[in-house]
Structures are given as C-alpha cells and as structure tokens.
Symmetry: C2
Subunit: 180 residues, 2 copies
C-alpha cells in the first residue's frame, strides 16, 4: 500500500523563535483529503555522558510545557546549518563543563511524530575531559551525577519523564554490561 | 535553586483539532523575562504488544511531519477525559485486532518537553486475545510482526525513529530475558 500523503495546500499560522506552525490540506491514499497541523523545529542534539568516575551527567531544568523541572541528559537546539556532533559537543561543555573528544551515535528519533518534525540525535560520550561550563543568560539548570546502579533504580521507579533521556539510559544499560 | 518560570502573560495563537499554540511571557529565576512557545496536546497512549507466538506487533503509518512512514508500536491520541488504559486497549484492538486484558505501565514520557506538553503513556500488553481490527476512515496503516531477535537487530541497526517505540522495545529487551 502506498501510504504517502501529498500536500495540496499549506497555510502558515505562526513563525516563531523556536517553532513554526503550518496547517496542510493533504490527499490521503484513498484520494480523500484531510488536515494536518504541523509544528516545524530545526532539530536538537542530546548527549549521554559518563565521567571517568563512571557517573552519568544529568541536568535538571524547568520545562514550561510540563510546568515542572525535568531531569534530562544534556541537550540543546541545533542552530541553522550546524553540524550535529559539533552542536552536541558544544551543549555538553556549556551545560556540564566536560569535553567529549569522541561521540558514538545512539540513535536519531522523532519525539512527537504525529505533529512535529523535531528530530533529536542522541550521542554517547565517553573519555571525558574537564572543560568550561558556560550557560546562556536565560538558562537555569542544576547539574547532577548518578552511578549506573542509581540510574537502573531510577528507570525502574519511572523517575525519568523525558523521552530522549529514557532512550539514552536504557541504551547504556543494554550495551554496557560492565557498568551493571 | 528555584527553577520555576511563572507565566506573566499568555497569548493564544491557534486552537486546532489536535494542538493549540500559545506564547507565554515568563519570569525567569533571576527576575528577567523571556518568551516560551507552547504547543498544548491532550496526550496519547501507546502499547507494546507481544502475541502468543512471541511476535511484537508494529504498525507502519505515514507521518506528515517526517514526510515518510514510520514503524511504531500501536498508539493513539487520548480523547477528552478518557481513561488512559481504556484508550490504550481501544487503540490496540482498532489497529491490530488484538485484545489486551491486562496492561503493565512501562513509563510515561514527554517526547518534546522543550515546547510541547504531549505526554505519552506506554504500556506492555501480554496474554493477547483475538478481537476485531477497526481503523478510522482516515487511518491508513500496515500491520507488521517481528520476533524479539529481529527487534534486537533492528534496534542495533537504528531502524526505529519513533521515541515511544524505541523506549518500549528497549524495555522489552531489558526486562524479558526469556525472549532474547
């Protein structure tokens, strides 16, 4: 079956700093039409970083949509035309003060594919070196560090609510038996 | 540190069928102000279902924001005031033709917490019974079934791009050693 939905007409509703909103009239596989509300975002990167002391670096940050702080792996929006690995290294150093020489791609994922094209590249960083923490003026975050055993318990107790963070930490548990 | 961001003023930009868009002026922890673009969504449910033959049920569906079909666990939007487990059972039967008597909560997560409050509850369904597939008029999906060994390879090869699906399948690999 050809599942493709062709845009027949699109209307721009909003062009913002982080997201744009468009409504598309699409042609469905059976020839009928429907509407799609689409939130366009430039994409993001996230880094699961393990220190030389085998601690996972997490940042606590207030998330206005959730109306509470969430505990997440370091992450940030991609600038226009920015290389994803460079953005990941930049965000990691700015938010945690650690430099990652090498990044391994864990996966790339859509967090809300029903309405948004935001694609997040999640990396694993090991062999960290000490760099310089440097937060943006409007960035208020708390850095926390947890052992793999603590991470395992926190996952079991459903203490993480951010998709990219759950994916990265489950990946760590699945792939690094020596940490368990 | 108190990380809370208080809304001083909010503007409704768009009220749609699936999402609403608001822009809030917020007061930051240091007293300065900033803007937040917020996409409100009623939430969703998703079900990782394993058949009596130990096959994982996945659905392929065109996702307009990604401009391609994605392979995902069965999922759907929550209706207003709908109980999440009831919605999960409904979506599973409609999309796959299987009935789940019991659901185990894997986790609840925000896919895009930077700009959206969409919260997805992900369940694990076992002991499936045969029911009745029943797709909505504008729903075009293909049902596929994979063994746990195939799932393990597909995860390793980064073949999944949907966050809730990756979380559910990693959980399955982490928690069900007898399937490996």
């Amino acid at each position: 079956m050809n599942l493709y939905e062709k845009t027949i007409h699109s209307t721009s509703i909003y062009q913002g700093a982080i997201i744009d909103l468009e409504v598309h009239d699409v042609e469905l596989p059976d020839g009928k039409t429907s509407k799609r509300e689409l939130v366009y975002h430039n994409g993001a990167v996230a880094v699961c970083a393990v220190t030389p002391e085998n601690k996972v670096l997490l940042v606590k940050q207030f998330r206005k949509p959730a109306e509470k702080p969430l505990l997440e792996i370091p992450a940030g929006k991609l600038e226009i035309d920015e290389v994803r690995t460079e953005a990941a290294k930049r965000e990691l150093e700015e938010e945690t003060g650690y430099i990652a020489e090498e990044l391994e791609l864990i996966t790339e994922m859509y967090g809300s594919p029903g309405f948004s094209n935001e694609k997040i590249s999640i990396y694993l960083a090991k062999d960290l070196k000490v760099g310089q923490m440097n937060l943006d003026d409007d960035e208020f975050i708390e850095l926390e560090q947890y052992s793999l055993l603590e991470i395992k318990d926190m996952l079991k107790n459903k203490q993480f609510e951010d998709a990219k963070t759950i994916i990265a930490l489950q990946y760590l548990l699945l792939n690094y038996n020596d940490y368990k």
